[in-house]
Amino acid sequence: MTLHSLPSLESRYRVTGHPQLRVTILDVGLACCALEVGAAITAGLLVPQESIDTESDGFVVSVLLISGTVTDALAPGIIRAWATLEEPRLAVSFGACANTGGPYWDAPTVTKGIDQLIPISVYIPGCPPRPEALVAGLVRLSQPSVVTHSDPSGESR
């Protein structure tokens, strides 16, 4: 089964301390960084929601969260996951592996930075980053300097 054919893997969250943020996260947890995403939820930094209020004011966005090591073999799956995400969508690179390859920067099988595959709006450094760094990264998404990489064709670059 490919990522493309899986039903509704996204989860909806409120971000504690940032009521304007309403995020739908597709977490592609590929390595230890994924545990920190879980830690953010257990610590109450991200609060799971049944549904998202898209009507009232706020920053509503779908987030592709790549938390872990992307290998070249997996790259097509990442591109498909990005394509399935509802607009408006932004991609977050979480941790050293996703950012640059990190500890595996010299490995022949690891993708050196997932920004080669999809447009990244926020890079969060760490190995792994703290759960608080994830929240800081999500907050950064709502800043005006972040460009929404929307694409009318629904295709990623």
Partner: protein
């Protein structure tokens, strides 16, 4: 609550750095980059001027850094230390590279250096 001893990021105290390059050479991910030059310093009473390294640039690419702390442990001059600061996200990969100014800002004011 983030504990004060948390390994959030690595901070630099440039005044303690002698440009010895140990951190740069031991870094497993090659994420540290250091530029220095030598200068002659004349000290009162000394027969000849002394050659010292002067630090021009010190950069850590936190995109690559695996936060292993080898540089912190190995620095003979305690010029590097762990800091609980963690909010260093950026909107570009290049934005994850920090220079002397940013690295010094993270220096933990209350925490002693954690090197040996």
């Amino acid at each position: 609550m983030i504990p004060a001893e948390a390994h959030g990021t690595i901070a630099l105290r440039a005044s303690a750095c002698t440009s010895c390059m140990i951190c740069v050479r031991e870094c497993p991910t090659w994420c540290i980059d250091l530029v220095s030059h030598t200068e002659q310093v004349s000290e009162a009473g000394a027969r000849r001027p002394k050659t010292v390294n002067v630090l021009d640039a010190f950069r850590i690419d936190f995109g690559l850094c695996m936060y292993c702390g080898i540089c912190v442990d190995l620095c003979p001059f305690d010029a590097l230390a762990w800091s609980p600061e963690h909010d260093h996200g950026a909107t570009t990969a290049a934005g994850l590279v920090q220079g002397i100014k940013e690295l010094e800002m993270a220096w933990p004011p209350t925490q002693p250096p954690t090197g040996n």
